[in-house]
């Protein structure tokens, strides 16, 4: 069974949050270490990954604060983490080979996509003229009900 001290763990998380490339190399080493203790490695990997995802999300969300629009779309961190856990468990259960760096990239791309989508929505929702035109059309159509 592989072991890691608290200090080593802290050093590792600090290193990972500082350099994204380390996550990719961690993925490779996790794949190698899985035979030692999948449960331990799973927990460690998830803690590290969730830390990284949270950091990315915080960065994206703070960019959104500047828009001043009460937007109902949120970054779904909980769902993303659940998806990661499910994927992990499936992989262990089916004894599949997994490319962790690729998987991490995919998860990060999903987050980026949510962010891009939110930005697209912001561009339209923040346009006063679009808003005025939409209201005007709505008023006119409500009166005539498209007859």
């Amino acid at each position: 069974m592989s072991t890691i001290t608290l200090d080593e763990y802290k050093a590792l998380t600090a290193k990972i949050s500082a350099d994204s490339d380390v996550v990719a190399s961690l993925g490779k080493s996790v794949a190698v270490s899985m035979s030692f203790s999948s449960v331990f490695i799973r927990s460690l990997f998830l803690v590290i990954l969730s830390h990284r995802l949270l950091k990315s999300m915080n960065r994206m969300e703070s960019a959104c604060f500047t828009c001043n629009i009460n937007c109902n779309i949120t970054f779904d961190f909980k769902n993303k983490l659940e998806e990661i856990v499910t994927t992990w468990d499936e992989v262990i259960k089916n004894k599949e080979q997994i490319n962790f760096p690729k998987l991490i990239l995919r998860w990060e791309n999903d987050l980026l996509e949510q962010f891009e989508n939110k930005l697209e929505n912001y561009w339209i929702a923040s346009d006063k003229e679009i808003k005025d035109f939409a209201h005007s059309i709505s008023d006119k159509l409500n009166k005539h009900a498209l007859q």
Binding site: W123, F133, S138, H144
Partner: protein, 131 residues
């Protein structure tokens, strides 16, 4: 009560024809099915905030599997609807990657809305409540 058949403005039809007559003809049927699905469930997609309680502007991202184009890089369908009055109005259909900047998309949507307003004003010159 179901929603009425969506109203398609000329500007929307032009965009539709351009996309499926010349750019993505193989995806015409699949996208048509998605647009038809809006009548059944007009509350799908993202709702833009700040447009009042009953009036919605919504956006759906559409992938084109026939061309291996993901939702992210695919089409955007924008429609306006009123939940009370049960009307749906197709505002715009465009290929996101064709526009270099978001400002150009804003401008295009503004132009479409403007032409919809003039169409309604031409068709209903005397508004019942106008003075």
């Amino acid at each position: 009560m179901p929603f009425n058949e969506p109203f398609r403005a000329t500007c929307f039809t032009k965009q539709y024809d351009y996309l499926f007559n010349s750019k993505f003809p193989k995806s015409k049927n699949s996208v048509k099915a998605i647009i038809d699905g809006i009548i059944i469930n007009p509350l799908q997609g993202d709702r833009f905030p700040g447009f009042g309680q009953n009036t919605h502007i919504r956006k759906l991202r559409i992938g084109l599997k026939e061309y291996h184009i993901s939702k992210r890089d695919g089409l955007r369908l924008i429609w306006l609807l009123n939940e009370d009055k049960k009307w749906i109005l197709m505002v715009s259909l465009y290929h996101e990657r064709e526009y270099k900047r978001e400002q150009i998309i804003q401008e295009m949507i503004r132009d479409n809305l403007r032409s919809i307003i003039s169409y309604i004003e031409t068709r209903y010159p005397q508004s019942p409540t106008s003075e």
